[in-house]
Amino acid sequence: MSEQPTRRDVLGHAARGAALLGLGGLGAYVARKGGLAGPWQIDAGLCINTRLGLVGLDACQLCATSCVLPLSAVRAVNDHAKCGRCYICPAYFDVKSALDEHGLPSGKLCPRDAIIRKPIGDIDPRDPANNYYEYVIDETRCNGCGLCVLACKEPAGLTSLRLEVRYNLCTNCNRCSIAQACPKNAYERRPARTT
């Protein structure tokens, strides 16, 4: 013989049912325009450093300085298929610095010396200006400041450099401090790149 449910039990069950329904409804309503959790990514069309047409500005550098990690999760990436492989790369050299004895700019643009330059292809050591050079980012040094990205824009460069968030480093913060700081709202959550 089972006990009769008291009025208190009935009210309790009703309240719990209502609360669970309410939570479920809230979840369904909120998630109707939701998506699978995309990682933070940089929209190259909005980023000051990569967007075409914005020249003569200083590099934004907020990706390097805003991240909660000691070394930002943002890295510069060289798209080798687009790279001009120039003898004097405006992103590698500080083209405003004085020339050294070889006629090359004496300064490098990257403050952390994170770009590796190496001659490639049929190398003619007597005519270095006519060789091609490969520029690779050292990801252990790069902090995503974007100086090189800004330098490799029209008319100086071929826009082969861009900034990317590294999924393996990014903690995917709920409140991404780079996204908060980004002046152009270029930093946003999007579905992960699969390639």
Partner: protein, 326 residues
């Protein structure tokens, strides 16, 4: 200016002299830079069997990692419920809290967490264009559903912010009931502020709960100095006063306490018959035992009281049972 030939020659000359004088660092010879190529040279132009390197990428890992977070949270809530309500094991709950502190705190570095998700959910309610990840919705809802069914298990065994305070609570002092209740209102003020900083017009949502998260700096071993100092201050306070952030500040704790009022099951001090001996009330550092019973809104499922209950001792060690008062 002058109309003769020397004047038209001297003006640009003067400009150059002035420019050089104004910037002595650039007085040396500079490169006249021109881009040598109009299009990227491809492998056949470069020769010598050059292979264009692949663009540096890292595969997306976050998808499974975030689904793992939800699974770990659900599993931790289930284990916590079992430990607090069935197994009645303080040791087990402390171990669970340490595990969750290691996973959600130090491994996941405090992101994603349901406390901050309050503001994401608010943003998704208010702004139609705001796309909230499903994972965040799940992380937000699971502890609330658990609170409706079993009380604040999340606070006791799962939340890394709770765990870090639980572990430093060495010399608990009793907070006067009036003061406890009054300070408890602060969390509702904080919840209101959190909602306001999302819905306020003409400004980007400011995720203040995440920004002023006092302990996340410890999880990441870095952070703004003022937040680290705030966290250190709260931890020092937490040595004497049980979980000051959870009880007085945490807005999510407020939601959980509200829902745990109607919870189906909850922590009971005694395993079977309720005694009126009052030994447990001394053991609770959170002021959650009123009239010799655990109050569900305030009980953080830490399980300290179990060890002080004579009936519990009987059940676990098989010792002499004191008579249960009817």
């Amino acid at each position: 200016m002058t109309k003769n030939g020397t004047g038209s020659f001297s003006l640009p000359f003067l400009v150059v002299v002035l420019a050089v004088a104004a910037s002595p660092a650039r007085a040396q010879q500079q490169l006249h830079y021109e881009r040598p190529v109009e299009a990227a040279p491809q492998a056949e132009d470069i020769g010598a069997g050059y292979v264009v390197p692949v663009v540096q990428h890292y595969p997306a890992r976050t998808q499974w990692r975030e689904v793992t977070d939800v699974a770990v949270l659900a599993a931790a809530l289930a284990v916590g419920t079992w430990l607090a309500l069935r197994r009645r094991s303080r040791t087990g709950l402390v171990l669970l809290a340490i595990g969750c502190l290691a996973y959600f705190g130090f491994y996941r570095q405090g992101c994603v967490c349901p406390i901050g998700a309050i503001q994401n959910v608010t943003a998704a309610l208010v702004y139609p264009q705001y796309a909230i990840p499903y994972v965040v919705v799940a992380i937000f809802l699971l502890p609330l559903v658990c609170a409706v069914l079993f009380g604040r298990i999340f606070c006791g065994g799962v939340c890394p912010l709770g765990a870090i305070q639980e572990l430093v609570l060495l010399k608990p002092l009793r907070v006067p009931v009036r003061l406890d209740k009054t300070l408890g209102w602060l969390k509702w003020v904080y919840l209101g502020l959190a909602v306001w900083f999302v819905v306020r017009p003409a400004a980007k949502p400011d995720f203040i709960i995440c920004r002023y998260d006092p302990f996340v700096g410890f999880f990441r071993f870095t952070g703004p100095l003022n937040i680290l100092l705030l966290g250190a201050g709260l931890l020092v306070l937490a040595v004497f006063i049980g979980r000051p952030y959870c009880r007085f500040l945490c807005p999510y704790g407020g939601l959980l306490s509200l829902l745990s009022r109607i919870s189906w099951r909850g922590v009971t001090v005694t395993p079977d018959k309720e005694l009126d001996c009052g030994l447990c009330a001394e053991a609770c550092p959170y002021g959650a035992i009123e009239n010799l019973r655990a109050t569900r809104p305030a009980c953080l499922a830490c399980a300290r009281c179990f060890r002080h209950c004579p009936r519990h001792r009987v059940q676990t060690t098989g010792g002499q049972a004191p008579p249960a008062t009817p």
